[in-house]
Amino acid sequence: MDPTALNSGDTAWMLMSTALVMLMTVPGVALYYGGLVKKENVLNTLFMSLIAFAITSVIWVIYAYQLAFGTDVGGLIGNGANLFFNGITSATLAPLAPTIPITIYAAFELVFAAITVALISGAVVGRMKFKAWLVFVPLWITIVYVPISHWVWGGGWLAKLGALDFAGGTVVHLDCGIAALVLCIYLGSRKDVRLLPHNLGYSVIGAALLWFGWFGFNAGSALAANGLASSAFLATNTATAAGMISWMIIDIIKTGKPTVLGAITGAVCGLVAITPACGFVTVTGALIIGFATSFFSYYAMTWLKPRFGYDDSLDVFAVHGISGLWGALATGLFAAPFINSLGVGLFYGNPMQMVWQLIDIGTVVVWSGGWTLVLAFVLDKTIGLRVEPEEEREGLDISLHEESGYRI
């Protein structure tokens, strides 16, 4: 088979995968978050994810894709050619995946960008101005996400260095987790910081859609319908199931009772942790990564958060930041050359891989944390970041949107 000619099997799978990843944000993340908030904020919470998807979709085709995945300039950024997709035809193949059209490659990367910024919303729900969010989303994608995705996936310097991130442990999850932490600290705590889900059933549906869509996210990141995609598929499911079971075990040990919220949280942690590793590790590796990750995220949620007193409303940092960090490290440990020749981890005789992973992690933490802080500061001083106290008390659905989720 010609590796530089359109392959209809690969193209079909990437069309499917892209639609699956879209489902993760709209309505996956929206419902997962929407169910966890109080009922006076449900529409605002859903809306933050929906609009993040729409805004990212528009800026992505205008310029963001071209900067993230255009021809590399000095390892730092894409060249920005073909703005508005001018000059691209339906026959143009993706330079970084030459068996599929560039248009579906761009759409696949788009849905990744959209979910990354939508995930941040979980840390700030209940108190962030919607107008500020509308400005934050395009700025954050442009300044934070575009460079990082270029460095790791667009042929940039981290890729050249040898950092491994199959589907976005650092680019997506550590990235959004750090941004979420910085933004929620800058915003300050809500008046009512309790986590009392108003409709946990929504969250179960949302988490289930995340799990389902994640097969597109992870197996789709093979950018082809092949054995590697299948291997990533099975690793993903294995780690997710292991994450759910281990969280339930922690729940039983700690409080005596298994909880549904704990189970779905563990599943999401498993999904996050296996994301960077899924195209590099064995099923055994996936089991270990999934089982271990719930412990780290549980600890971040129940020890780190109260100790430092930041109000990460829906634990975006604990779930995505911490499990993403573990996944990135675990990739450096468990990457098996017989799964993917591009990755040789510490346990297979390549200790240097851990160094590349740490450089990747450090870069994402500094870049995402630093720029998110700058953005938060600038937005706060211009349009304001936080709603008025009475708007927060009344609930954001009524005060910001003049709607309410429930007519009962």
Binding site: R194, L195, L196, P197, D251, K254, T255, K257, T259, L261, G262, T265, Y298, M301, T302, D315
Partner: protein
């Protein structure tokens, strides 16, 4: 009016007992009832819920309130019926309050007193 002849029985019961209580009351020919969904707490101050490793006291629980207007002579029957059907023996079964009613008026006809019940 010669003395109080009508009583109001207010019962706070478990929401899931409503059907049973309503049917049992209909069987003893007590048909009129007003039902309200309410929230409240008793001596135990609600229950504890646990989300992501943190415990929260949920101190107002959903309950159902029945208001029934009956003639004096039927009051004990109604109270017994509610007691028998709404009781589980566990914490949270609720309470019954009995109070006198000065007068009753049927709006459709203008009838008053016992006839209007």
């Amino acid at each position: 009016m010669g003395g109080i002849i009508v009583k109001e029985i207010t019962a706070i019961i478990r929401p899931d007992k409503l059907e049973e209580v309503k049917n049992a009351l209909a069987e003893i020919q007590c048909k009129g009832v007003t039902v309200t969904e309410v929230k409240g707490r008793g001596r135990q101050l609600g229950v504890t819920e646990s989300y992501r490793g943190r415990d929260y006291k949920v101190d107002l629980l959903p309950k159902t309130r029945l208001e029934i207007i009956v003639n004096n002579k039927d009051a004990d029957d109604v109270i017994d019926t509610i007691l028998k059907t709404a009781q589980t023996g566990d914490i949270g079964d609720g309470k019954i309050f009995i109070s006198p009613v000065d007068d009753v008026v049927r709006i459709r006809t203008g009838e008053r007193g016992e006839k209007a019940v």
